[in-house]
Symmetry: C2
Subunit: 193 residues, 2 copies
DNA sequence: AAATAATCGTAAGCTTGCTTATTATATGCA
DNA sequence: TGCATATAATAAGCAAGCTTACGATTATTT
């Protein structure tokens, strides 16, 4: 069967193994700004708090309101580093409040995406809390989706984006929005055999 | 509104303008094997016939059966260079036969994808007849999706794929399947202002 | 000819994604 | 206080995407 996108079981179970993000590669490709993948043992409470704080700053700067539902939707996404479908978000929120209607979640997602706090993973019809707070909204971001644990890392815009756009332009095409989603196995899952 | 994927209006109307696929680019990026985009005035009958002939060869080589529905589904996809959703395919087929059930179309699509004759465009939940008959099934293909006319071109695996994989590996990620879908405006639509 | 496997059709239904109302509740400000 | 704007909730529903179950064909093999 070749279908995809519906079944994202994803075992969120804790894993051992430390992350050792390569700084330089055999083929000489330079490492990027920061490790794209969240280590399984990272301080998640902190990482969540940071992201929420960042969201508050962004909203304040833009004079946008970071309302409770918006915060809760972002919180639900932050609770894992996995992309969640809209209905998964609803299920998640239903645990701690009256089950919100789809429209409520979609509005919050629209808001969060418009403000660069959340990405949409096209190949999964799912949403992901944005990890890299420093990429400008116009440039492409590549997502690394681990098919084992379901976690998603980001590669911030880098040389590949230039190449990609150049390749597109070489056939006369004017690229605008790029969707780059790479499925594979993350460092941590590789170590588990 | 940030939604996408449902409304693919797509005017298939004939267009003027000749394709002049750039061979070399200002930034020195070399042109790829063949023009990625189908010119609006290309010999579509021929292109369809070629693709069907190719499909027959492939199936024979693999001792697979190229049955009527499979041919018809491929034919429906070939009738445009646009990606079609499963239900659009059903609508298309309904014009020339008894409306097929979803399962029927999905089965044919599974077959066609398994044999490399059709691609799935993840960001649209849609399917596209494969244009480049020479890319090996493992390597990445980038799709160029024109937001004006809806046509889709392919960039066969090239240098960018290497870079992309290298970038992924540089964070310890083992890439398998890459989804690279670039939205923008194609040569022909650019010329129409 | 019988058995097996592959393919196809019919019928039904489920989940997800997303939308359209319409009405309420804040929030700011004049 | 009154009014406007932004935000949210409630209710209902559509359509796309995909699946399960099962019986009927049609090859293919033995």
């Amino acid at each position: 069967m070749l279908s995809r996108g519906r079944s994202m079981a994803g075992s969120r179970a804790a894993r051992r193994a430390l992350g050792s993000p390569a700084e330089m590669l055999e083929d000489g490709y330079m490492s990027l700004a920061k490790p794209a993948f969240p280590a399984p043992d990272h301080d998640h409470g902190r990482c969540t708090a940071d992201a929420l704080a960042h969201a508050e700053v962004v909203c304040e700067q833009r004079a946008q309101k970071f309302t409770p539902i918006r915060r809760q939707v972002l919180g639900a996404l932050l609770s894992s580093h996995r992309p969640l479908g809209a209905y998964e978000i609803i299920d998640e929120l239903a645990k701690s409040m009256a089950r919100p209607a789809p429209i409520t979640v979609y509005r919050a997602l629209d808001f969060l995406m418009a403000n660069g706090l959340v990405h949409r993973i096209e190949s999964r019809n799912a949403y992901l809390a944005c990890a890299a707070h420093d990429h400008d909204s116009t440039s492409a971001v590549a997502f690394l989706i681990c098919e084992r644990c379901g976690l998603v890392g980001e590669i911030p815009s880098s040389s590949f984006a230039k190449d990609l756009n150049a390749a597109a332009r070489s056939s006369g095409f004017a690229p605008k929005l790029s969707v780059v989603e790479i499925t594979g196995v993350c460092t941590h899952c590789q170590k588990m055999s």
